[in-house]
Symmetry: C2
């Protein structure tokens, strides 16, 4: 599967902002988060932009600008983040339409779609069981 770290980086950013705010700061900058995640600030801004569209974070501009949480970490789940940053379905269908004159070619897509839908629903409910509060707790529980 394509090495897709978007969910990981988004969770990292949210945990970072959450912890930083608990330490008394108002906003976190993309520069700071990028430094922690060892990537480029623009990558962080792009990701956080998608989280902002989903209502998970807010941003300020101007001097003293930066990012803050729009909700408590405990009210955000990995499913919220997943839906904000991941585009398509987990499993794709054929690129080109299969031969509709063939019984298998005709029936395979509806059949697989039904199966995949059920599996993705299970995946969603698993993601929905984990809050970002859980993530931050696990992060802080890792021994140094």
């Amino acid at each position: 599967m394509s090495a897709n770290s978007r969910l990981t980086i988004a969770a990292h950013a949210l945990a970072w902002i959450g912890l930083y705010q608990r330490q008394g700061h108002e906003v976190a900058t993309s520069e700071q988060i990028a430094s922690s995640a060892n990537t480029n600030p623009v990558v962080i801004r792009r990701l956080l932009g998608e989280l902002r569209k989903a209502g998970l974070v807010e941003s300020r501009r101007g001097v003293g600008a930066g990012w803050s949480l729009a909700r408590e970490l405990g009210s955000m789940t990995l499913l919220d983040v997943y839906e904000a940053v991941e585009a398509g379905p987990l499993f794709a269908m054929h690129r080109a339409t299969p031969d509709q004159g063939c019984v298998v070619g005709h029936g395979i897509q509806p059949a697989m779609r039904g199966i995949y839908d059920g599996i993705e629903e299970t995946l969603r409910s698993e993601l929905a069981r984990v809050t970002l509060e859980d993530v931050l707790r696990d992060v802080l529980a890792v021994p140094r």
Copy 2:
């Protein structure tokens, strides 16, 4: 998520071979399967080669060559196929190691790995619940 149709195409090929054999034929050619899936025979041969390594299909060479099932469709699950054709983990970690001097950077990977492992285990058990026999039945149940 990267549009990855390998599992779909592999299931298509297995269902096709299974049905073809039930119609009294010994082996199916990559050319026939490719025609049904609307792709290139080499793509099918590559995929079936991975399924052969996993012990799901067999191939013959020479005149009258082609592919046949190594086991009953009812004894193969989507998990068998998934493990045969999908390489890496569902969710990837950071490309570059996060800043180990930062609390979040240090703890994020162990934390996410624990969460992801649980989710992937659930995904596996869902895939294991569906046999290729189920897939073929669903395919044939689609109205024309």
